[in-house]
Amino acid sequence: MNAIIVSALLGVVMMFSGIIVKNRSYHTVIAAGGLLLLLLANLLNSYGIWVIKVDTHNMFNFEQFGMYFNTIAIAATLIYVLLSGKAVEKIGSYSADYYALIFFVLCGVSILSAFNSLLILFLGIEILTIPLYILTGADKRNLKSNEASLKYFLMGCFSTGIMLMGVTLIYGGTGSFILGESKVPESALMPKTSFLEIAGMILLFVSMCFKVSAAPFHFWTPDVYDGAPGVFTSFMATIVKAAGFIAFVRLFDQHTELLGPSWKILLSFVIIATLLVGNITAVFQQSVKRMLAYSSIAQAGFMLFSLYGANDLAREGILLYSVAYSLATIGIFAVLIKMKDYTFEGFNGLAKTQPVLALSTAICLLSLAGIPLTAGFFAKYYMLASAVKAGGSLWLVVIAVLFAAVSVYYYFRVIQAMYFKDGEPETEEITGPFKLGLLVVAALVILVGIFPSLVLNWFYF
């Protein structure tokens, strides 16, 4: 609750600070301070101190899992702002407004991590995505950015429509907006699970697949991620995507027995399709930014295992995955937006001219590939372990593992360019604090990779 209220208020504060404070670099400072405040408010919440106690009539369910995810999302945003704040200021002349929109996104994130009623899920999704449509088009003189924004908007509306349809059908079938609850009295005429409820759940599943860019509903992702300004792609591909998954897991890990055995078949089809599309297409990219867009689809394929497993390991795993994936991707994007040339060749010889950038990018890439000693290994490990624990799905794990080997190909292309090829990469000015920030991110990636319990223990404190 604290996170929802405070982030909404901070969004308003940011909007006004745009009018009052003219110096753009102060906006970043204010945003960072706001995020610290938000982090504090959310932590207080998890210790049982509430800003306002509201009776939400069972529409929200503030559980430890969701609040802990809020902590992760806010902390990741803080790291993101500290690393890439300068780039946000350069996009356009409304940096305070961009930060305001980011706070609204965080408000959406904290709603999604706590919703209980499907109406609140719908609200959360809308609050999360509408600011993103604007952020995607923030570079308003760039045609690609405009195109991406429009495309994202149209596809987003379409999938929201499907979601609403699903919610309606479920309400029609059960008389309740809460999944698994039925207000319709059982009778001979009405079977226990109605057809409407199952149809509604499938529609919900499809729309959530849209939101987390799982194949075959992924087509908007590459264009949007490529067209949006790099800083905002970084935000969308990490915190927003992880939040989508948290909503997905909270929605579906309880009530899938309604769908019977076909649920696992449906889900494994989506997982394999996502891994296939993401990995194979990423291999053929020439631009690192576009490669990262496809790789985010591939990573979504792994995150979907948390739905497949649907056990305690899956819940822990999706949190760990959020941390590992967000840290690594934020780190890589922070470097990418400093580059003048987004192609693989643009990275040639970076290890010689900017060893710190190259080292931290390499560590982040190793983490995305899931090499041991980096956070990404345990993230993937938990996902696969949850599926093995659920039983009967070793074949799916083996397929996933094969695709993980494919992913090495495109992640290592960047490492090869940086370390083994010669070139004169052009970068924007690199400051000392930026390097320090990158090193901190890389160190965190390794630390979590050796002691994942650092992240997970917090969950149980």
Partner: protein, 477 residues
């Protein structure tokens, strides 16, 4: 504490070496570190009580993984091989110039950390970690300091082995959930009872990982390219020590955990191994490049070891144990000679070489001894190992053994051919100005030759050292 310090010394010195500037500083630092590691290993294996040789600490309590290390006879032998190999390699290749020497030696020491960790691990997750840790530094070593086609060759190597490791990870996860106490400990894995179908499936997941690492036919295609393109110091680590990871893993993890599946598929794997031996030997005959010849000859030797492992006879297993050590010593010796020739004359092609015996008699003698060891002539260490392995193979199946024996003849053909083309005949334009190898390199070769002859005449200490592992493996089925 001995196993922990064996891992920590190269790890810490390796990380520190990244910050060293200058050729000599880095080299001496690496040499000092590997010498200390060797001293610790020798002291721990021969002079300290056995309880110092295992270690156990909490690592990931929620996952049921403990940071536990152990040493049995095979572990001791391979630790000894690794710790001897590194100082020898560093001294023998000291004349090679590297750009960024600090990073080069740092990565070298980190790969030693990985290797030692693999040989000591008593927990599947720890094992997996070190298995990968050994791979990543080698990938960077080959890709930065390797030959012309290094990027493609090492990438192939990396993807192959990484794919294998990931399949193994899937297998490890499966076993973890089958184990009674939900732990990754080696001992819990040994007590898992699987149905025949499950056992066969998981067996293959593990076997492919190990087969790629060894490498066994048909998973060997990464190997000749990787050996040829790597800087020679790294090739020595790859072929001298790292391929032993595969054989070691078969004996430590595969045979005891999947006794029935290993028996069931032994025939198929032995046949594959024998095909690999003959195939690699035939290709070796046609090579015109010293490095590629040694690479293919190495595939043939590893094939024999893999066949002897699956034959599951006492003599064969004893042979595998000592041959793991011997092959490491012999192949490192051959690589040193190849490196000396390449550094001095700038070529590795037989067609450019000849008559080196007139110019460098000492090197000629040392090379001939090592070539004899490569053919496994009596009085060299390899004779004992190969004899025992063929003996085991004969007990398993006389026809397979007979076919496998052809590889001895083929080995003589390509090895003696190499000796003849390199050392004898008239000198060519390239070799006219060849000099004797000097100083430290010669001493290193001499030490290796002494080990070769000493273990050839009296191999009993090596058999005694690894006896407990052989007994444990045999008792398990």
């Amino acid at each position: 504490m001995i196993p922990v310090s064996l891992i920590l010394i190269p790890l810490i010195t390796g990380l520190a070496a990244f910050f060293l500037k200058g050729e000599n500083a880095a080299k001496n630092w690496a040499l000092l570190s590997s010498a200390i590691t060797l001293a610790v290993a020798v002291a721990g294996i021969f002079f300290l009580p056995a309880h110092d040789l295992s270690y156990d600490a909490a690592w990931l309590p929620q996952l049921g993984s403990r940071f536990s290390l152990m040493t049995d006879g095979m572990g001791k032998m391979l630790v000894l091989l690794t710790t001897i190999a590194f100082p020898v390699i560093i001294i023998a290749t000291a004349r090679n110039q590297y750009k960024n020497p600090g990073s080069f030696y740092a990565l070298l020491l980190l790969s030693q950390t990985g290797l030692l960790g693999v040989f000591l691990a008593a927990d599947a997750l720890v094992f997996y970690f070190f298995w990968e840790l050994a791979l990543v530094p080698v990938y960077f070593l080959c890709s930065i300091w390797g030959g012309e086609k290094r990027i493609a060759a090492t990438f192939k190597f990396f993807v192959y082995t990484f794919l294998g490791s990931l399949l193994m990870l899937a297998g490890i996860l499966y076993l973890y959930f089958q184990s009674a106490d939900h732990s990754f400990a080696l001992q819990s894995f040994y007590h898992i009872k699987l149905s025949a179908g499950q056992e066969a499936l998981i067996f293959w997941l593990f076997f492919i990982a190990f087969a790629i690492k060894m490498p066994v036919f048909p998973f060997h295609t990464w190997q000749p390219d990787a050996y040829e393109q790597s800087p020679t110091a790294v090739t020595m680590i790859l072929s001298g020590v790292m391929v032993k990871m595969g054989i070691f893993a078969l004996l430590r993890w595969l045979l005891p955990v999947f006794p029935h599946a290993s028996a069931q598929y032994a025939h198929l794997i032995i046949i594959l191994s024998v095909i690999g031996m003959l195939y690699a030997s035939l290709i070796a005959i046609r090579q015109d490049d010293i490095k590629r010849l040694i690479a293919y000859s190495s595939i043939a030797h590893i094939g024999l070891m893999s066949a002897a492992v699956f034959a599951h006879q006492q003599t064969g297993l004893e042979g595998v144990m000592i041959q793991m050590f011997n092959h490491g010593i012999n192949v490192i010796g051959l690589w040193i000679v190849a490196d000396v020739i390449e550094q001095q004359l700038g070529t590795r092609k037989f067609s450019d070489l000849g008559g080196l015996a007139q110019k460098a008699p000492a090197m000629a003698i040392l090379l001939v001894v090592m070539a004899f060891a490569n053919i496994a002539l009596p009085l060299t260490n390899a004779f004992v190992g190969e004899f025992l392995m063929f003996n085991g193979l004969f007990r398993y199946n006389i026809w397979i053994a007979a076919v496998a024996c052809i590889s001895i003849i083929l080995a003589a053909v390509y090895t003696l051919n190499m000796v003849q083309k390199v050392l004898y005949g008239s000198t060519t334009g390239v070799t006219a100005n060849a000099r004797e190898i000097g100083g430290n390199v010669q001493w290193m070769l001499a030490i290796l030759v002494i080990i070769i002859i000493a273990l050839g005449v009296y191999p009993q200490p090596m058999i005694d050292l690894t006896k407990d592992t052989v007994q444990a493996i045999l008792a398990n089925r």
